[in-house]
């Protein structure tokens, strides 16, 4: 575990799933597909030595606004949920500068593990109504989905590909410190 400058009480912080989201956006033609995972979990461990963020999302819980697309995303063309039911993340470094936060670590998608760096903002800690400290991390990063074997695409009739290889991952994480 490496150093962190988050000025928050040491201990284990659990993700409040109701007030958190793990979403992705893939450019498509002039627009974008947006999706998110309904079922995910995460933990933030703060100690004197540093901070560690771990999390996992269930592929089966992918939520998009088209049932056929949702079914296609589960299949071997995309995430292959039967073989790889979870996406996971584990940080190796968290650095805070004011409200700006940088997180680096390993993400595993479809059986492939890669290093990534995410940036964003940290807010808190603020005591919630039960008197427990809470804090919020807003993180964003971009990955190339083909690095993870999520390589489906379709040629457009006029040339070019239907779907971008670049995917933006947006994590809105609200943690509450265990009492």
């Amino acid at each position: 575990m490496s150093t962190s400058t988050i000025a928050a009480p040491v201990g284990t912080w659990q993700l409040d799933k109701v007030h958190s989201s793990v979403a992705f956006q893939v450019p498509y033609l002039a627009g974008a597909f947006n999706g998110s995972f309904r079922d995910f979990e995460g933990t933030l461990d703060l100690s004197e030595d540093g901070a560690a963020l771990t999390g996992a999302a269930k592929v089966a819980s992918v939520d998009v606004k088209d049932d056929n697309l949702a079914a296609h995303l589960q299949s071997p063309d995309f995430f292959d949920a039967e073989s790889y039911p979870e996406l996971t993340f584990a940080s190796d470094r968290i650095a805070l500068d004011g409200e700006s936060v940088q997180v680096s670590g390993e993400i595993a998608i479809k059986g492939v593990t890669k290093q990534l760096a995410a940036t964003g903002a940290a807010h808190g800690p603020v005591a919630n109504l039960q008197g427990n400290d809470s804090l919020r991390l807003q993180l964003a990063t971009t990955i190339d989905r083909t690095d993870f074997g999520v390589s489906w695409n379709a040629e457009l009739p006029g040339g070019g590909q239907a779907l971008s290889n670049e995917v933006t991952i947006l994590a809105e994480l609200y943690f509450v410190k265990e009492a």
Binding site: D67, N68, A70, A71, H72, Q74, S75, P76, D77, D80, E82, S83, P85, W152
Partner: protein
């Protein structure tokens, strides 16, 4: 282990059906490769007919796919693509998409044509369709061009074609074994 073999050609002396017969004769011990012969009886897809009661030929096809560990397709090429009858049969099997029996099922595609290209475009399109349906598609191709010379009187006489066919069937069986391990571990 049970493999369902589906030919996209209805012709009695089809080179593609001959390829599947050759595969059936050469399967290793413990593997049953059953040639499905109901394609001509499958009616055109109509969502109005796809309710609680579906045509008997469709029920038979869906059951055959559901009961197989893997499916081996052999396709000719009509106008640079998959024959309509074969595409239509897959369309029936694919509904509803999220629970259809081809989902996660290991499948492989081979093809023969009398021209020099060996139905490569039809094979590529069939792999694309099977991927969209949710199957576990082998990224392999067997392009038997000039089939009239290489498949005479219904017998595949070309040793190279037979070797590639054996190799693809072996890879398909491996995919079934891998899938069983994955599901068992989950």
């Amino acid at each position: 282990m049970r493999v369902l073999a589906i030919s996209g050609s209805l012709r009695r002396d089809s080179h593609n059906t001959a390829l599947l017969r050759a595969a059936a004769e050469r399967t290793p011990a413990g593997v049953e490769l059953e040639l499905w012969d109901g394609l001509k009886a499958v009616p055109p897809y109509d969502e109005d007919d796809d309710g609680d009661l579906v045509p008997a030929a469709v029920t038979a096809l869906r059951s055959a796919v559901a009961g197989a560990d893997a499916v081996l397709f052999a396709t000719p090429e009509y106008n640079h693509s998959v024959p309509g009858a074969l595409k239509n049969a897959i369309d029936w099997v694919s509904r509803p998409l999220e629970t259809n029996p081809l989902r996660n099922k290991p499948v492989a595609v081979v093809g023969a044509s009398t021209g020099i290209f060996g139905a490569v475009w039809a094979q590529a399109e069939l792999r694309k369709v099977l991927g969209a349906v949710g199957a576990r598609v082998l990224h392999r191709e067997l392009a038997v061009g000039q089939a009239a010379e290489r498949i005479a009187d219904g017998a595949v006489g070309d040793a190279e074609v037979l070797a590639q066919l054996d190799d693809i069937v072996a890879e398909l069986l491996n995919a079934v074994a891998t899938r069983r391990e994955t599901v068992a571990a989950a």
